[in-house]
Symmetry: C2
Amino acid sequence: MVELSRRRAIEDVASELFRAHGYAATSVRDIARGLEIQGPSLYAHVTSKEDVLWAIIDRAAGRFEAAADAATADARAGDPAAAIEALVRAHVRVITEDVGAAAVFVREWRALGDERRATVLHRRDAYERRFREVVETGIATGDFEITDPALAATAVLSTLNGIPGWYRPDGRLPAGRVADHFVDLVLRMLQGASR
Amino acid sequence: MVELSRRRAIEDVASELFRAHGYAATSVRDIARGLEIQGPSLYAHVTSKEDVLWAIIDRAAGRFEAAADAATADARAGDPAAAIEALVRAHVRVITEDVGAAAVFVREWRALGDERRATVLHRRDAYERRFREVVETGIATGDFEITDPALAATAVLSTLNGIPGWYRPDGRLPAGRVADHFVDLVLRMLQGASR
């Protein structure tokens, strides 16, 4: 338990440093300083900076996946607008609940080593496929007016993944309002003029 | 002239390396190798890796600004939909004409030193303001159904700035079709149900 909370503290401090200065410009020593521990003691918990990056990205990916699982289970079957709304709300919630980790996930996954980067790419593809499948369902039911579902799904996720670039928990927009706005913008993108 | 083309060659090679491996993972030696010149000879043209990054980002920012200037001059006054379409087409064209530089601009500006990063942030803000002002005009004329123009402008640019993550000049979608799709998606986002 102590071990787990120490690992979380390392990830949280590292997320904020990676977010503020970038992964490349942050050293293991910077992370140790943020935790007010000595460098060598940090190495008892992590073997490399990339391991910390991986821990942050792996956990963030898992949170996006779990949230999408729950959203898919909740959404009414056969209602693509409700399904995409649930996916967008889940995605925005994961971002706003831990915006530091989300920023690192979105920006720094390319800094991982080849094998881990391939794993993340694979999981990102699978995650994006959930959005694309709902778009395809919406096209089939006539709810969505989209000619290129793959491009639309990519565009929706690009729209949402800009949020870590500006969202702040103490900012002018509370997380729930951010989600409301993006649900609205995304539904408009997909539904088109026939709504 | 030779000097200019050599600087451009350095920027092009560096853009592709930064895009593929990230700024942090690319060394001046990697850039020199890509140019098939020796490291010391490269230092006759650039004094640091950050100078190359700055040259790429400064030129990309200038291209975005010039394209938006031209788009604003071209668009019919008083037609916010035409104005946003012109801005979106200009933005997508700058990305697709040099997707390596666009990827570096979008992803790596945080790696610049404090002063240059502040300059880029300032220029990004001014650029985003062009989009926001058109959105505000569209709200005033009743063309756009938007309650938060600042958030809408940010969302539009996030949507477009995902393009360097997947666009390839030899990919399935030619640049003109990409622009058509994104004009459509962005206009839907802004126009809402009343279109």
